[in-house]
């Protein structure tokens, strides 16, 4: 057996590295020390891969009659007679005991019936005064409310994939009365209860695109952004499973020593590769960022664990939305996030109409008349929301324009 590996590392550190819970500096330090031991490094990566595979395992299908079966075979008898783990005990009985028990129960029932008939407790008539008639009355009683119905009647929190929530107040702002202004402008409250007044440099909004070929849409958006007389950033938001899958594939490629395109493209944000052009996309690549799990905390009891989410960034980092915003968009279902300097917002909006029909959002947008400027578009936002809801479509969601 070769020299034990990992012996120079704290188990807690290694676990944290596997669990993606160690800070980047510490992770880099551990990896640096592992470089001299390729076996240990390979093992570490495999442990991480196993973890990722486990986290994306197929979910077993719950038997449809699980609860119904539980109710009829377990709970009712249990509630009638609290016999503890009766089913298992019942199963463990020997067969002859079951027969004896069944005969005993049958005998008791027959004797009880004979006694009841003889004493007049139970009559065989069906007159209104007979017990059977009362039973018939019970049949006409209202059907009991099922658990599903009661569950549905409970006030439900809006689902994460339902955006915007029907009863939500979306706080966003009309940032610029005239988009052409580059200097400080007073914001006009469009919805919500606050105003923003600042010098704006970039307008960012999320775009939700559904039911279309993502690559084609990406090409369209790139073309439109490329036509702007300014820099712009386009971020394609990956879903969490996509990101997991991507990261796993990347690690596997690296593990196999494959110099894949994915491996070349997948870089940390700071090290994002240059695209060879200055405008409008000076850099592009897959970015990986970390953030405390938000929506997972609500559903999976993780309140502080970090998750890694990736997105495709096309454009300068300085124009990209903050990671928190990107995640917010992704969690709201946004597939794209676009950033442009605010003075070019009008131009962008006008040009995006060229893509009418390419996306649900843009079709809704275009059908209701041209959005010739950000001010008009934003003032038209309630109608856009309304029409999108009618079409079960999606909307463009404006967000706070940053200073």
């Amino acid at each position: 057996m070769s020299k034990p590996i990992f012996d120079q590392f704290d188990e807690a550190d290694l676990l944290a590295l596997i669990e993606d819970e160690v800070d980047p500096e510490r992770a880099a330090e551990i990896r640096r020390r592992l470089v001299g031991d390729p076996q240990a490094l390979a093992l570490l990566e495999r442990l991480r891969d196993d973890r990722m595979l486990l986290r994306t395992m197929d979910e077993p299908q719950v038997p449809a009659d699980l609860l119904a079966d539980l109710e009829t075979t377990l709970v009712r008898p249990m509630l009638m007679a609290d016999t503890g783990d009766w089913r298992r005990r019942y199963r463990q009985r020997r067969p002859w005991k079951r027969y004896v028990a069944a005969v005993a129960v049958l005998t008791i029932m027959v004797l009880a019936g004979v006694w009841a008939t003889a004493s007049g407790v139970i009559g065989f008539g069906s007159g209104s005064g007979s017990p059977l008639a009362r039973h018939d009355d019970a049949v006409t009683a209202p059907a009991p409310v099922t658990p599903s119905q009661r569950l549905a009647a409970l006030p439900q929190e809006p689902a994460d994939d339902q955006w915007p929530p029907a009863d939500a107040v979306i706080h966003h702002y009309l940032p610029v009365p005239s988009v052409g202004l580059k200097t400080a402008v007073a914001a006009v409250p469009f919805s919500g209860d606050r105003q923003v007044s600042a010098r704006f440099t970039a307008a960012r909004f999320a775009l939700v695109v559904k039911g279309r070929d993502q690559d084609q849409i990406e090409q369209t958006l790139r073309r439109v952004l490329g036509e702007l007389e300014s820099q712009a950033a386009l971020v394609r938001n990956f879903s969490y499973p996509e990101a997991e899958q991507l990261a796993l594939q990347l690690r596997l490629d690296r593990d196999r020593g494959v110099d894949s395109e994915l491996a070349r493209a997948f870089e940390d944000f700071a090290g994002i590769a240059a695209s060879g052009t200055d405008r409008p996309f000076p850099a592009e690549g897959l970015v990986t960022r970390r953030k405390a799990a938000g929506r997972f905390a609500r559903t999976l009891e993780r309140s502080e664990a970090a998750v890694t989410v990736s997105g495709l960034l096309i454009g300068p980092r300085s124009l990209a939305p903050s990671y928190e915003q990107q995640l917010e968009f992704a969690e709201a279902g946004a597939t794209w996030t676009i950033s442009v300097p605010v003075e070019h917002l009008n131009d962008l909006l006008a040009r995006l109409q060229l893509t009418e029909g390419q996306t649900t959002a843009l079709r809704v947008w275009g059908d209701g008349g041209a959005a010739s400027g950000a001010d008009r578009w934003l003032s038209d936002y309630p109608r856009i929301l309304q029409e999108a809801a009618l079409l079960e479509g999606t909307v463009m969601l404006p967000v706070v324009v940053e200073e």
């Binding site: 188990e11 290694l14 395992m57 079966d69 099922t146 658990p147």
Partner: protein, 221 residues
């Protein structure tokens, strides 16, 4: 078995908020006959998933889920609210599973020593396993299947910590409450479980699927 892809947000599920859960508990204690049904309905998917992961057998998973639900029904009055209801229910379920698996193990009189079987794979050059690593969706699916089988080679306590951590996405604190062990034990067990799982995967993959790094680590801890 029919299955569906896991997704952090399952649109078909109807998770209850902690407040709604507590309201249902109170309603149950107040005599509402439907409150328990609603609770179980909300939890059935999760409980079945835990049980299935622990036994990897639909029939047993069904029985264990139902047994767990019965225990929840029987014990709900004793739930004191010191931990989250979900944690308490998971603890009940996991105890049911572990108890069942320990009995199963006793019945086998230790004839199947998984630990020794795990280490039977022998040292293998890690590079040689590169050929076996999944590169496509199909291979990933196959790899998940291997992992599923490998899970069954683990000691139930180790399997439990992996199920709760990776498949139920619980925090260490919740796992500690669910398994009734200190957090330090959870972390230590989790690390060893990952190593054991890797060894078991290599056993599943057969000759050529081993990795002497795992053995070295196991010898070292």
């Amino acid at each position: 078995m029919e299955s569906q892809r896991r997704h952090p947000i399952d649109p078909t599920a109807a998770p209850l908020t902690p407040l709604a859960e507590l309201q249902l508990v109170e309603a149950h204690r107040g005599g509402d006959p439907d409150a328990m049904g609603q609770l179980l309905e909300a939890y059935q998917r999760r409980l079945y998933s835990i049980c299935y992961r622990m036994v990897r057998n639909e029939h047993d998973a069904r029985d264990l889920t139902q047994d767990s639900m019965v225990r929840v029904i029987q014990g709900l009055d004793s739930y004191d609210g010191r931990s989250k209801l979900s944690t308490w229910i998971i603890r009940v379920t996991m105890n049911t599973c572990l108890s069942y698996l320990r009995k199963q193990r006793l019945r086998r009189h230790g004839s199947l020593d998984l630990a020794s079987e795990d280490s039977a794979g022998g040292p293998i050059d890690p590079r040689s396993k590169g050929e076996l690593l999944p590169t496509s969706r199909v291979e990933l699916s196959e790899m998940r299947s291997v992992l599923g089988r490998a899970m069954m080679r683990l000691d139930p306590d180790m399997r439990a910590v992996l199920v709760l951590r990776d498949m139920q996405d619980l925090e260490y604190q919740s796992i500690a409450h669910s398994l009734e062990v200190p957090i330090g034990t959870v972390k230590s067990r989790l690390f060893r479980a990952r190593l054991a799982l890797r060894t078991a995967v290599e056993v599943e993959l057969g000759p050529g699927g081993g990795d002497h790094g795992v053995e070295d680590v196991k010898a070292n801890i």
